[in-house]
């Protein structure tokens, strides 16, 4: 299962904070904790809204961070760290599907599977269900854009690097998606 993860070296827009965290972790593995704490929730959410259950999301998250820790000594700041991280995440998802696990469309994710303390947040639960109903009208690729933008909290440049698309094209795609979501959201509320 060879995995070649390479990024466009002509990148000058990446967050300096990540570069510093990476360098610190490379010099002292204990410093990996800071990088981990920054990205854990985002990676987990990305997987959760992709696979639809806590257990698989945890497994995939574990594999990603183990891989990152393993490869970090060889990582060179030639691209966004976030893009490298989510390229690894994307590869893990590809493996996941190869093993026969079916993609759970967002509309099938049961809000009841969320941690118990969130169930008390009834407003959020209703809105989650509402959002999921709206998102089901998007294609899987469009759902991926939403996940990378809002679950993983990536910038348009970072998303472009992961998906090998120009930043402008990503921005326009997401903007159009949001327009559609907005009108459906408003129609739902009427």
């Amino acid at each position: 299962m060879s995995e070649i993860i390479s990024l466009d070296p002509d990148v000058s827009f990446c967050v300096d904070e990540d570069a510093k965290l990476v360098l610190a972790a490379q010099q002292n593995p204990r410093e990996f904790k800071r990088l981990y704490q920054k990205w854990l929730a985002r990676v987990y959410r990305y997987f959760y809204f992709r696979v639809g259950n806590q257990k698989d999301a945890e497994d995939l998250t574990s594999l990603v961070f183990l891989k990152v820790f393993e490869d970090l000594p060889h990582y060179k700041n030639r691209g966004c760290f976030s893009a490298w991280l989510f390229a690894i995440a994307h590869a893990r998802v590809v493996d996941y599907y190869r093993r026969g696990f079916k993609e759970l469309p967002l509309n099938e994710i049961n809000p009841g599977a969320l941690p118990d303390d969130l169930l008390a947040q009834s407003v959020h639960r209703d809105e989650l269900r509402h959002l999921l109903l709206v998102l089901r009208n998007l294609s899987l690729e469009e759902q991926e854009l939403i996940r990378l933008r809002f679950a993983a909290e990536l910038s348009y440049q970072e998303i472009g690097q992961i998906l090998n698309r120009k930043e402008d094209a990503v921005r326009k795609s997401i903007s159009r998606l949001l327009e559609r979501i907005q009108s459906q959201w408003e129609a739902k509320n009427e």
Binding site: P29, E58, T61, L66, R99, G100, I181
Partner: protein, 477 residues
């Protein structure tokens, strides 16, 4: 971590909703602890792997070994099991929705002979076709005529043909490997023919069978395969004993045998693996069934036969019979065949003159030392090589070489020429430790002062290597 505000209320709403999902606290803490507890890799000279696939397998094994601590061995085992499966008659197959199969055997008949395509599997790595013949004609004496269908190709829908990349023929049974099919292609035509039809063979010379492919048929079951971290080496796996014929230049104790995959069959196991070594002058280290034994934990011999399902240099695969063996099992190797190219140039020269002629010969008597072995170039003669099939004759040189007992083959190449020459070579092992190497030159014999060197050597090394392994499903003492 504070989430960043977005430009519009809708974006913030979407973000708020997605932020209702967070990793569990205990999961977060335990994962970090497990990551930081990982040991770093040990330093030292790297083993020389053959091919990118084996290196990738090594990385996968390392990552998965680490992940065992976090997600538990059985979840990872379950994941490992389903990536690759084993299909008897075909070999290892990717267990994925994208793998295509033949729905049921296909039979093509000509003149009373049947070509039966038993199974086809096409995944992202290769396309494998298994077929056999029935009804091949016999000679009046009752002997089966050797109709050798050694010309195998597939023709894609766009008309392009592909040659085999692996597999082979054995009697009337064939298992042929081709490159993976292009994306979207779900059919091809199998073309089977004889390269040199034997006059005694009365069977049809050429066959063409259309092969439609689809998803896995219900009657097909892939056997579970274990690889990477699921194959558990015991402490004894590192017990590598020095070879009897080891030399300081070639410490044969550097060779190790790695079990890559174990397929669990109905009546036994199929194992595949490869050899690794440190000597940079070696290109291949092969082992053959007669040099191998398999024992269980009680010292019982496990019957096995060569399986031929792995198509790489220095790889091996064996099908073990029976499943009630007490683990761990031990693969023992008593000798290996090494192909090596000496880094240090060992050459010899002579003056062949302007017009070398048949019958001419030159006494060389030059001893070459390479990879700890001595080869003596005794004589060079002008000769003619004859193509057995076409009868075409090619002028060349015959090198009379004195080789050590454990050497199988030495190949020589002209090293003094600035322009590479097209050549063909053939080797004959003569009496008393002599090898006659004939090198033919279709474009004409080289002339003048000629220099040759050792291109590569194939020789045998004796030793006592072993690797011990088990999978969780095996019986343990």
């Amino acid at each position: 971590m504070n989430k960043q505000p977005y430009e519009s209320p809708l974006e913030n709403k979407i973000s708020d909703v997605m932020h209702t999902v967070n990793p569990r606290q205990d999961f977060s803490e335990s994962l970090l602890n497990d990551i930081l507890r990982q040991k770093t890799r040990s330093s030292g000279a790297p083993w020389k792997f053959r091919g990118r696939r084996w290196a990738a397998a090594g990385v996968l094994a390392l990552v998965l070994l680490a992940s065992l601590a976090v997600v538990g061995p059985y979840r990872v085992a379950a994941a490992l099991q389903s990536l690759i499966g084993y299909l008897p008659g075909i070999g290892f197959v990717e267990d994925s929705a994208g793998t295509l199969y033949l729905a049921q055997p296909l039979t093509s008949r000509q003149e009373g002979v049947s070509l039966i395509v038993d199974q086809v599997a096409a995944d992202s790595e290769r396309t494998t076709v298994a077929y056999h013949f029935e009804g091949l004609p016999q000679t009046p004496q009752g002997e089966v005529v050797a109709c050798v269908y050694d010309d195998n190709k597939i023709r894609l829908p766009d008309g392009k043909q592909r040659l085999p990349v692996g597999g082979g023929l054995s009697g009337g049974q064939a298992r042929i490997e081709f490159q993976p099919l292009p994306a979207g292609v779900k059919q091809f035509t199998l073309l089977v023919a004889m390269n040199n039809k034997d006059e005694r063979c009365q069977a049809p010379e050429k066959w063409s069978v259309d092969i439609p492919l689809g998803s896995m048929p219900p009657q097909v079951t892939l056997m579970p395969v274990y690889e990477g971290a699921q194959i558990v080496p015991t402490l004894a796996a590192t017990a590598v004993l020095p070879a009897v014929s080891a030399t300081p230049q070639n410490p044969a104790g550097d060779i190790q045998f790695i079990i890559d995959r174990v397929a669990e069959l109905d009546e036994g196991y199929l194992i595949s693996g490869h050899s690794v070594w440190k000597n940079p002058d070696w290109e291949r280290v092969d082992v053959f069934p007669d040099q191998v034994s398999v024992l269980d934990a009680d010292g019982n011999q496990v019957p096995f036969e060569a399986a031929d399902v792995v198509n790489q240099d220095s790889a091996f695969s064996y099908q073990l019979s029976g499943k009630n063996w007490r683990s761990p099992l031990t693969l023992k190797v008593s000798s290996v065949w090494v192909q090596g190219t000496p880094a240090k140039t060992n050459d010899f020269s002579w003056d062949a003159g302007l017009e070398p002629k048949a019958g001419q010969s030159w006494q060389i008597n030059r001893k070459l030392e390479a990879l700890g072995l001595s080869i003596t170039v005794q004589k060079v003669s002008v000769t003619q090589l004859e193509d057995g099939a076409s009868g075409e004759k090619t002028d060349g040189f015959a090198f009379d070489l004195l080789i050590p007992e454990n050497m199988n083959l030495v190949n020589l190449v002209e090293s003094g020429s600035t322009t590479p020459r097209t050549s063909v070579s053939e080797s004959k092992n003569a009496q008393n430790g002599h090898q006659i190497l004939e090198v033919g030159y279709p474009d004409g014999l080289p002339t003048g002062r000629l220099t040759y060197k050792i291109a590569y050597m194939i020789y045998n090394l004796k030793g006592e290597w072993q690797t011990t392994w088990s999978i969780p499903q095996m019986v343990t003492p």
